[in-house]
Amino acid sequence: MTALLSLSGIVCGYGANQVLRGISLEVAEGSLTAIIGPNGHGKTTLLRTISGLVPLTEGTMHFAGQSIGRKRPDEIVAAGVVHVPQGDLLFPEMTVLDNLQMGAYLPEAAKQMRIRLEEVFTLLPKLRERRNQIASTLSGGERRMVGIGRGLMAGGKLLMLDEPSLGLAPILIDQIYEVVWQLTRTGRTILLVEENAVRVADRATQIALLDNGTFAWTGAGAELMARPKILETYLGA
């Protein structure tokens, strides 16, 4: 298997505050990679770095054969990295449909708009019902679905999901993860950030435990469950 995304020796942060201190990671095509770990240790920053929102201080990033370490966010999206951010970041005054269409903003994605929209509505039927509703009036679960749907509209080769379960009721978390599993079954490459290791361990191809800006442990999902010590130390499980 070839690595779709490969990160090597990534160092970055906000001003003098170093958040990531030497991160290396390979994401294989068609795999589900989960980044787990306690809050405030750099999981979100890692995704924001990959999508170009946080500038890289040191290290290299390659995606589908090209270097993306010094590229702008729009160039990285155009290369095929789709980032569904934490807290959804919808366009609050646009309708659900307008939000979804913004997902297909780039010319390549715009050509596929109709087909993709139909796919998104099939995967997330609730959005078809709500398509003319203004985003700021949606419930938390609906907003999450719009966030994911908007990401899918871009197409892309890698889908990065930042804590899709955040702030949702348990029943909604199950629904959202059902969508994520459906996406993995269709062969989509996903890089997932999740605080709850147990929720993703048996599905993930690869799990990386982020602690204090570095990976404390990397391995297969099933392996992690066989290591109670790690679970206990880092995740309090």
Binding site: S51, R72, P73, D74, V77, F91, E93
Partner: protein
């Protein structure tokens, strides 16, 4: 109070002209604030520049009016772009961007005004683009220039609305205004959007400067008063809200014309300010603004 019908028509006609003129000035400010959180204090100087460029192109170069308007839009658009490249872009990442760019654009406005003063002198000039004659219906007397202003302003608003709703640039502007980071994640190159918004705002300032100067003449500092009113309109509407800005501008224009008739010209500005104070106490985020209060 018993006001005859033709006086009402007269008040409404001049109020709509004022409102439409204010709207064109205010939209430029609202677009820039909405997408960059930038209060462009050089907008008034850009209006004056637009007025003078049109005057210069028509009177000194002997070109037709449309060329004068186009030249003013191009020059002011280019100056708007230059303001972005020279001042806004280098400061954009700073935590105090809003304060810094506010002060920087005051300086740029002063420089522009003084350049105009050097080039054209301090004496007032009449705007060359000025229709004569008037539409007279009974006792109602509406100057053709006012009708032209109204028609151009309405046309502009329709064009802008279509641009914002149906073009790729318009979608990018709205997305950036509503959530800058999300727009970037959709593939919007925000620095390009900012540059285009400032150029567009500069071109709008040129048109509104030509309109204002066609009624009250050209002076290097002619932009100050309409810019202040445009700011008031933006604040009352809720900073950055383009459609709310247009509605507020028209209502305030009508109100101003009515106050001028009933109480006299000298009260109109004072009452306008009073209204702003009342609105801001009642709704600090403006009439159409998003419900959020940011305190420094």
């Amino acid at each position: 109070m018993d006001v005859p019908v033709d006086v009402w028509v007269q008040i409404i006609a001049s109020g709509l002209t004022l409102g439409a003129m204010y709207a064109v000035a205010a939209i430029g400010l609202a677009l820039v604030y909405g997408s960059l959180n930038m209060l462009n204090m050089a907008h008034g100087a850009l209006m004056a520049l637009g007025g003078y460029i049109c005057f210069y192109t028509m009177t000194r170069l002997g070109m037709p009016a449309l060329v004068g308007v186009a030249a003013a839009m191009v020059v002011c658009g280019a100056v708007g772009l230059a303001i972005y490249l020279a001042a806004a872009q280098p400061m954009l990442r700073s935590a105090n961007f809003e304060t810094q760019i506010f002060i920087a654009t005051i300086g740029i406005g002063a420089i522009l005004e003084n350049v105009i003063l050097r080039a054209f002198g301090p004496q007032p000039q009449p705007q060359s683009l000025n229709l004569t004659g008037a539409l007279v219906i009974g006792n109602v007397h509406i100057p053709n220039q006012n009708l032209l202003i109204l028609a151009v302003a309405l046309g502009l608003m329709v064009v802008l609305s279509l641009l914002l709703r149906h073009t790729r640039l318009g979608r990018a502007i709205r997305a950036t205004a509503q959530n800058r980071e999300a727009a970037q994640l959709m593939g919007v190159r925000v620095s390009l959007v900012y540059a285009q918004v400032l150029a567009l705002s500069g071109a709008l300032a040129a048109i509104s400067g030509i309109m204002v100067s066609s009624l009250s003449g050209l002076l290097p500092n002619m932009g100050g008063d309409p810019m202040l009113k445009a700011f008031i309109i933006c604040v009352v509407a809720g900073l950055g809200n383009v459609y709310g800005t247009v509605a507020t501008a028209i209502v305030l224009g009508l109100l101003e014309a009515w106050i001028q008739y009933v109480l006299g010209v000298r009260y109109s500005f004072a009452l306008l300010l009073l209204l702003v104070i009342v609105v801001l106490i009642w709704r600090p985020y403006g009439l159409f603004g998003r419900k959020q209060v940011v305190r420094l």
